[in-house]
Amino acid sequence: MCPLKSGTPDPDPWESPLFTLAAPLTVVASAEGEGGGFHAPSITDFFPPAIFFEGTIFEFNRVMLIRVIMTILLLAIFVIAARRAKLVPGRFQNAIEMILDFVRINIVGEIMGEERGRRYVPMITVIFLTVLTFNISGVIPFMNLAGTALIGLPVMLALWVFVTYWVAGIRKHGFGGYLKANLFPPGVPKPIYVIVAPIELLQILIIRPASLAIRLMANMVAGHIMLVLCFSATSYFLFEAAPALKAFGVLTFAGGFAFTLFELLVAALQAYIFGLLASVYINLSLDEEH
């Protein structure tokens, strides 16, 4: 991790906000920069300068642009698939239906069961696909930043899950009944409730949604930093370092390649885990006893 501390200010890449964070493109930027440019990944990557409405609460920056583009992409794919949906599916429709079936059967069906889960299938589907799409933007060239890497989207998704499982629990048991079922789980010795109840309250109030949001965000941030590190080190080694060090560029490029594949896996896995945990939390609210 020694390259981390050598972050030299490199104003060039910031001129065109769309392309700054694209790791492969820093190759060009650094090459024509001062020559000492090693673009170290940092947290500022996630707070690019505004494009529109700077300073207002509608500030629109690169991350928002990525989100909008990915939204359009996601909706375009699914609207086209839905419009062309036929009784006998083609290859494209089969793939789309496989994704929808995966959510319906392997996530919701497995956790909640067919009957109880039917009501929540659309919600989990939307959550799964949103997370998946925005995660994948982390490895798409020229975007190279996951839409979920900025905490806002994970927080909103987690809030949605939070509201859903509270509403589900209250509708099923009533407000008092829901709290009682969660805070005072049966089969626990009475004195222990002093410890258990606050923990459980913290659990259903803060920890569940916060862990959902932070898990997703942290995974994406870490993935982005790893990718940027690998690719910017590659460009540094290949174009600016001493000839003897150029071989390292190949190594770091291989690392970056491997991490790109790994990020794809993580993107899908995080979407799966987010959907699964959302189903689990909703299901816990609906259970007869905790």
């Binding site: 501390k5 497995e110 956790i111 920890i207 932070i214 898990r215 942290a218 699964l276």
Partner: protein
């Protein structure tokens, strides 16, 4: 008095803190997932139930690592 600096490390001690915070959950996840796989191998028909429970447990354990991240940022 002259201080001879042999090696210098710059950066945030919070990073080290997070590294330490990740040890426990790492071990915990290993045990948790390993046991689940054992259970699945023993009773493949219960795989779905085991996987769901495992992820619930993973969420609990991972929470500690996530708290490590948060704490690292909070108490800089």
């Amino acid at each position: 008095m002259d201080v001879t600096t042999l090696a210098e490390v710059t950066g945030n001690i919070g990073t080290v803190g997070y590294g330490l915070a990740a040890i426990g959950p790492g071990i915990g996840l290993g045990i948790l997932i390993g046991k689940t796989i054992e259970g699945m191998a023993r009773q493949p028909e219960a795989a779905g139930q085991l996987r769901a429970t495992m992820f619930l447990g993973v969420a609990f354990v991972e929470l500690l690592a996530l708290l490590g991240i948060v704490a690292g940022f909070l108490f800089v």
